[in-house]
């Protein structure tokens, strides 16, 4: 009945995961990196939930006179907790970005590396001056 769809959801999952990896790796801006990681994370959610679905089924809530098949509740449980944990860890990432901005005055990766190199250079210079 549903042959024309096939593994469409899984293909979308693969594309979203590729997009997430690409954003997280290629963009220098830390906020954009975090958004990329979120896309990556949500693609995994999509994979799990898709694997639990039965076409024409219903949500795993029991009721009287239920005739349809029930979709698999187990992926729902795993992803439900993963979403809340995901936002908690994202907030840690955002807090780190805030601290980085305060310390370096920028959230661009290359500028941070530059500032760090200058800082280390200066430390070495100060040590040499002391010696």
């Amino acid at each position: 009945m549903m042959e024309w769809l096939g593994q469409f959801n899984y293909y979308v999952f693969a594309i979203l995961m590729m997009a997430g990896i690409y954003v997280a790796m290629s963009r220098g801006n830390l906020v954009k990196k975090v958004v990329g990681l979120n896309i990556f994370q949500a693609s995994v959610f999509l994979l799990y939930i898709s694997s639990g679905k039965i076409w024409g089924g219903t949500a795993p809530i029991l009721g009287d006179g239920l005739t349809q098949p029930i979709s698999n509740p187990l992926p729902h449980v795993l992803i439900l907790t993963a979403i809340v944990v995901g936002v908690a860890t994202t907030s840690i990432g955002l807090a780190l970005i805030v601290r980085i901005k305060e310390a370096y005055g920028t959230v661009e990766e290359d500028e941070i590396a530059e500032a760090e190199a200058l800082y280390e250079e200066e430390l070495i210079r100060a040590e040499e001056a002391e010696a």
Binding site: A59, I61, L80, T81, I83, V84, A88, S91, L94, A95, V98, E102
Partner: protein
């Protein structure tokens, strides 16, 4: 801070219903979609809305950061405490059937209700904490910047040291 009259009035109307809906989702999670995770987030959203509209200081006066920090730990303790209680009652860790000596199914109901409450408490408190930290940071950074520039009189909000 610009006075937003319309959102203020509407927030006054809506926040009680948001909190009520949070409680509904919390305790109706056995029967419909919902549970501790969702309820915690909804409850926290109500508090965050209050803080966004009436200002962080007033929100901190209503729900003090100390209370929130206490609740963060309390929720987890409730959850783990149920596990310890079932251990003491002679069953496995988190086997709620032991909570009611006559009817294990009723024990399961009770256990699920209690641990969902623990989950909801921790999630709500953590979300509120995270928001307080970010918003408090913003407030303090703004004050520091206005101290540095000194060309405009900063907002006359009392500074409470660390954004705890």
């Amino acid at each position: 801070m610009i006075e937003h009259l319309v959102p203020r009035i509407l927030a006054k109307l809506l926040i009680p219903f948001i909190l009520l809906f949070g409680l509904y989702v919390q305790f109706h999670g056995d029967f419909g979609p919902g549970g501790g995770f969702q309820a915690g987030v909804i409850f926290a959203a109500g508090i965050i809305l209050y803080a966004l509209i009436y200002g962080l200081d007033r929100a901190r006066r209503v729900i003090t950061p100390g209370l929130v920090a206490f609740l963060v730990a309390l929720g987890l303790l409730i959850y783990a405490g149920v596990g310890v209680a079932t251990l003491l009652l002679g069953a496995e860790f988190l086997n709620y059937g032991a909570l009611d000596s006559h009817d294990p199914v009723h024990g399961q109901h009770l256990g699920i209700l209690i641990i969902e409450f623990g989950v909801g408490t921790t999630v709500a408190a953590v979300m509120i904490t995270i928001f307080y930290q970010f918003a408090g940071r913003l407030q303090i950074t703004r004050e520091l910047e206005s101290d540095e520039t000194d060309d405009e009189d900063g907002e006359e909000e009392e500074m409470t040291g660390s954004p705890q």
